[in-house]
Each structure stands twice: as C-alpha cells, then as structure tokens.
Symmetry: C2
Subunit: 117 residues, 2 copies
DNA sequence: TCCATATTTCGACTATTATCGAAATATGGA
DNA sequence: TCCATATTTCGATAATAGTCGAAATATGGA
C-alpha cells in the first residue's frame, strides 16, 4: 500500500458516520448489510449514506454486491488488513511503543534525505 | 479514545503531507524536529507547514516544545499508540484476519441496536 | 537595544466535502 | 407488463480544507 492509497483509506475513515458504518460492517463481517439497513440504523438519509458508502468503496475498504433487490456492503478484509499493516509497519516504523504490539519491519526507508538542523 | 478523537486523529493523518510529516517524526522519535527543518525537507512553504503541524497537534498526534529559537515537533507516543489500539480493538473488533495480528478485545459493543433486514 | 532568524497568523482565494429532497435507475414479483 | 421497493444520481447550497505570500510575533545573540 502506497501513501496515496493509505491517505484515501484514512480519509474514508475520518468521518463520524463512515467510522460507524465501517464498524457495523466489521461487526457483521464477512457478511454484508443492505444500504437501507445501514441508513435506518444510523438515522441518515439514504442519499447521504449512499455518498458515504461510495467513499468507503472508492477507498477500497468495503465491497458492494447486489443480492436480489438489495446491495450488500461488506468490509474488504484484505484492504483493512493492509491498512493496519501500513500503519504499523510504515507509519509506526514497527516500534512496539508506538503500535502497542511487537512490530512488523518497515517496508520503506522512512529516514531518507532527512537532514538535521 | 472515543469516536470523535479517533476521527480527529484519522483526519490529521489523511493528508499526504501530514502523513509524511508524521512518518518523519516517528522516524526521529522521541526526538523532535524543528518546523523549519521539516518544511525544508518536504519542500513546502513555512506557512503551509505551520497549518498542517497545527492540525497534527490539535489531533494530539504530535507535541510542540520550544527549544531556544526553534520549536521542536515530536510524535506523541501515547496518542499514537491509543490510535492504533482504537483501530485494532474497537474498529477491527480484535479480529486477527482484519488486523493482521492477534486481537485485543473490543472495549465497546459494536453490534448494539443493529437490526437485520 | 537592535537585528537576524524561526515560526505563526492573516488575508484572499480555490477546491473539496457534506447535506438532503427530488428525480432517475434497477430489480423482482404480481 | 406494470408496480413496489432499493438504491443511486442530480441539484443546490453551506461549510470546511488547503495554498501561499506578506505581515506579525517571539527568541537569542551582537
């Protein structure tokens, strides 16, 4: 996962409603939930939810599959895992004191070109 | 960490320049780096960087401490760790297949009030 | 004190995000 | 085929984010 994809994924989660949507879909994973059910549970207009679902989908965090008359939204497990690994390995530099866990090694050189004052 | 704080932290990281800044500060943690050095390394106007540093600071992800004439910015290790734990425990529901690691237990009920279609 | 330097704040502007109702599209069943 | 339902797209609008140069503020040293 490169920076651009990571920023897209982070942007997608950086909204109260979308965070709630994502959590709901994580809780039901790997099953999907119809758009209407999500809208109803979160008390938001169908058109607003549709906008946010499309943001999450474009970021790759959720998938949409039509099932009869419903469109089921579900977390993309691989993409979610990739984001977590990006944050842990690349962003937190694999340091347990930052990540709260034994670190994964960074996949890129995070110090390149940095000159000190 | 509640949803509001998490959204603030995610928003702060959801920008290419701020993600680069954050990574630089993670790489140098726990040492801080002067604003000017960051601006120079990333090739951005001082005023623009100042704006982004303030976003990161307001989100609690970095701290600022004056040291002589410089203001040193450094990652807030505790806040970073809290964010990671929030994502792992509350957001990923502690599931290894989502988090890429043995899970922490969620600290809240993520399924409350969800009615199925 | 006065100047050079480090950083932030201000101002002005552009672009993007978010909202919701209404209208359009798509699907399955009668 | 025709209708009911699920969802998205389209407007229109308000709010926020992002950019940079110029001006303001703060610190340390001569």
């Amino acid at each position: 996962m490169d920076d651009t994809h990571a920023v897209n994924a982070l942007s997608a989660l950086a909204h109260p409603l979308r965070l709630q949507v994502f959590r709901m879909l994580v809780a039901t994973a790997p099953e999907g939930v119809p758009a209407g059910t999500i809208a109803e549970n979160l008390g938001v207009a169908a058109s607003s939810l549709s906008f946010h679902l499309s943001q999450l989908q474009q970021a790759g965090l959720v998938t949409a599959t039509r099932h009869q008359r419903f469109i089921l939204y579900a977390t993309d497990i691989g993409a979610t895992r990739e984001l977590m690994e990006f944050l842990t390995a690349d962003c937190c530099d694999g340091r347990p004191e930052l990540c709260g866990r034994p670190g994964l090694a960074p996949t890129c050189d995070t110090t390149k070109g940095l000159s000190r004052p």
